[in-house]
Subunit: 533 residues, 2 copies
């Protein structure tokens, strides 16, 4: 190992272009959510100097890194995956200790993380992300000849990544943002998440070791630590950073977006922020299986203490005895639900305050709460109910409460249900439970849901985001800051590239993906026709 330690010795250091660096000032220390105990080691903060050092290294690495072949870049991503696996069980154990998420979950998440890296290796080898297009010259065209014009997409430049608290592996140091940015050809500077600093260090070393063993420039990757907005703002406003990937709260996402837009050269920010993920229970589905739906719903609601971006925070249905059966079943399940630890003391406090604020609204009734606990930061599930009229009055009943809290909206009729759908803010997901007899109503709802959400799912639950080619984990504002993309799945690579046209550029200077003989054997659009030509 380049760091001179065994894989699981934590050093409390940042990793700037391959060099371990101790930070200054107040120390960041993970807290075991199960016990409230502080975990060793402590991590010092990086400041302006460390941001500049990491960004300068990323900038100087960029031209070399982006010039790597598809094969080199794919092998690099696969090596990162191999190195993460090589850490062994110590990684999922540390992620478990820092997050309070079950060990089975952090182990599964490790597989998702390495699978994601390997999927992006395939995407790089396949080459379509370069968007190659060739319009050959037409020297005899009248009234004027056409020049030879070719197009490919190139990486934007160094990317800043801010990981999420709730996925210490799959949405963190080597998560989807980092994997897609590296795949695109962009060096990455990650701000470690305060809640899982040790997990960050382990994964960062896996990446940094891959940088070394693949012979890439050291600045291809850096990891910085820093509490509060200072380091993050410094990173986003560094002139060398050309795009930002972020997963977290609406407040933090909007602050970073504002900072990025106020730069002398504004840059794109892909912030995945808040979503309440409405679930519509249509009459046929309720008629067929109200009680089962109630149980399944609470399973999705309470999984991982409800700490999913796609947690079902809103349920919408037409009032009646079948909705009552659903509510009875769900209330029983919530009442029986055991308290589970939340990621951080701050998240637990916000959750408790959020439920309290919702319950204090005049028109909202608390139907059930999960079991109480003396544990320091546990999540006590909450099921609340209100009428559509109160929801539509716009008294803030649509604000995300991050955790196992969900609000059921009772509608008078199908028309009111559609009004609730139309009044929603942008969402990551929208779910419909429907049987064949609901097809008409579901079809009427679908165009509205398409405009509100990045993913529409039927007869399932929104938690669980498949990493594939067709996934969209994104959606209209405020679920993300940029609805034109996704932060999960292979399309995520599009966030970090931009098109460049080459007009009459001599053959010996053309990039390989645009050469006449198609040496990379990739799909290209020639005079508008797709083919491997």
């Amino acid at each position: 190992m380049t760091t001179g330690h065994t894989a699981t010795d934590l050093t409390g250091r940042m990793l700037i272009a391959g060099t371990p660096v101790f930070g200054e000032g107040e120390k960041i220390r993970a807290v075991d959510p199960g016990t409230g105990a502080e975990l060793e080691p402590a991590y010092g903060h990086g400041g302006q100097a460390e941001v500049e050092r990491a960004c300068a290294a990323a900038e100087s690495a960029f031209e070399i890194y982006r010039a790597t072949t598809f094969e080199q870049r794919a092998v690099f991503l696969e090596t990162i995956a191999d190195n993460i696996e090589a850490i062994g069980d110590a990684l999922s154990a540390r992620a478990h200790a820092e997050s309070g998420l079950p060990l089975a979950r952090t182990t599964g998440e490790r597989g998702r993380t390495t699978g994601q890296l390997r999927l992006f290796a395939q995407v790089v080898r396949e080459g379509s992300f370069t968007g190659a297009r060739i319009d050959p010259a037409l020297p005899d065209r009248a009234p004027a000849p056409r020049a030879d014009i070719r197009q490919r997409k190139i990486p934007l430049g160094p990317v800043a990544v801010f990981g999420a608290s709730n996925f210490p592996l799959a949405f963190s140091v080597a998560g989807g943002d980092t994997a897609s940015a590296l795949a695109a050809g962009c060096p990455v500077v990650v701000k470690a998440h305060d809640a899982h600093p040790g997990t960050c260090e382990l994964v960062a070393r896996a990446i940094s070791d891959a940088v070394t063993s693949c012979g890439l420039p050291a600045g291809t990757f850096s990891l910085l630590y820093g509490s509060g907005p200072g380091l993050g703002t410094a990173l986003v406003t560094d002139p060398r950073i050309q795009a930002v990937g972020f997963t977290g709260s609406r407040g933090a996402g909007l602050a970073l977006t504002a900072a990025a837009h106020s730069r002398p050269q504004p840059i794109p920010v892909y912030a995945e922020m808040s979503s309440i993920n409405p679930v519509f229970l249509l009459p046929g589905a309720l008629h067929a299986r109200a009680a089962e739906l109630g149980g399944e719903f609470v399973g999705s609601l309470t999984m991982g203490s409800g700490q999913f971006c796609t947690n079902p925070g809103l349920v919408v249905a037409i009032d009646g005895p079948e909705l009552t059966a659903f509510l009875d079943s769900a209330a029983d399940a919530v009442s029986a639900s055991a308290p589970t630890p939340m990621l951080t003391p701050g998240i637990a406090r916000s959750y408790a305050a959020g439920v309290e604020a919702l319950a204090a609204k005049g028109e909202v009734t608390v139907l059930a709460r999960g079991q109480e606990s003396d544990a320091p930061q546990s999540c006590r599930a909450a099921l609340l109910v209100t009428d559509a009229s109160a929801f539509l009055d716009g008294e803030g009943l649509d604000e995300e409460v991050f955790g196992s809290s969900s609000l059921v909206i009772r509608c008078r009729d199908a028309d009111e249900l559609r009004q609730v759908a139309a009044g929603l803010e942008g969402q990551l997901t929208a779910t419909v439970h429907a049987t064949a007899e609901d097809t008409g109503e579901a079809g009427a709802l679908l165009p509205t849901l398409e405009r509100k959400a990045g993913r529409i799912l039927f007869n399932g639950w929104p938690t669980g985001v498949e990493v594939g080619h067709a996934m969209v984990h994104g959606g209209p504002f405020p679920s993300t800051s940029d609805s034109r993309t996704t932060s999960v799945g292979t399309l995520a690579i599009d966030r970090f590239v931009r098109p460049v046209a080459y007009q009459d550029v001599p053959a010996e200077l053309l990039p390989g993906v645009l050469a006449d003989c198609n040496p990379e054997n990739i799909w290209r659009r020639v005079d508008g026709e797709l083919g491997k030509h």
Copy 2:
């Protein structure tokens, strides 16, 4: 005609969802740049009420318009093109009268405009812009089955378009922004350009008539008039508008971008703003044909009074006798150049002030000016020269002067030439003149130019933007507000769509592009593999 007039009778009215509407307040009147004479008719302003009316109509048209088949939408675009041609010579004559651009140019621009609409019709029929992807279900996958997940891109919603002064047809009411937004499935509300209100009215009627004859909802298209920022800001901040296309000045583009970002729901703005389009003359090229290059350069510089976004406003070369030969030739051509009218009195004033400010800088020498004129708003070409050291001092020598003005940067050596390239802001184009002996130097320059420009061209001149599949008319800030796209060429359609994933959506509710049998016969990515499957 729905307006009850012959095609070329101008009425002075806006066109809101098919209904002609007189505006209020101070009148907008075109001025013939050749004579300074005001042209009939006068156009009243729209205000908040007209913005709301047009946006409400666009919103209510959206669901119906976006549900049209590819064929219906393609025929609509082709009908607009047919209707524009049916106006006959009166259209290019009016555009000529309002812009002062030569009649041959406005006639050619009409062909470019209709060609562009027909090209987008092809793009719609071909269907790849929907980005269809299918990851079939894997019910037997361990440890968990995979759901059926499909993805397509849907249109964003109503789009606001702000046309350019310098292309009264191809970048205006039925220009590239409108064509690509309509192709994507977005209704369009255009703010007419004050400088060519009559041309706007004629083209708007051609579109509106196509809306009617194609049986589309009237709100699919509206045209509003309004001077100053008021109407534009009202349009961009209307909650129904979901994206903005703009071509114009940096100041106006940044103001609209700020307004769009400060909305409760921020929206994307595609503003094409300012660029000085550097031209690098490498030693081999200068050695081979310095004098010819000087003549060609001035041809590009003075065409259309230099009023092109891609006008060559900066020339960079290594000092020496061959650069002197280039300068002598260019100075002769500039001195001989006849004064030509500029688009508006304001543009002519800004041009004169811009040249004066540049000439007043200590290190800048005026090499040649075009011939003087008594005409009210004519452009007198300007050729200026300075040293790289002065340019690199950052005294604002890189600001765009819109018109036939260009600054030549004399460099000591190749190293200084590369420093000038590296110090540039984002550009629409970067041009290299090189022979075989310059290949090494050109190759060293290329990575820098890729990061600075949307289009790189060799041994040509940047004016003249081909409309095709491979064109990029875009580039890093400040040449545009969003470098990830283009405003010319078929990729422009990507600006107005966003991906949506459909998980386990019943077959009868899936959009046609995602149906199992591929009824549209389009390219789709199934489990990551491209094919017509």
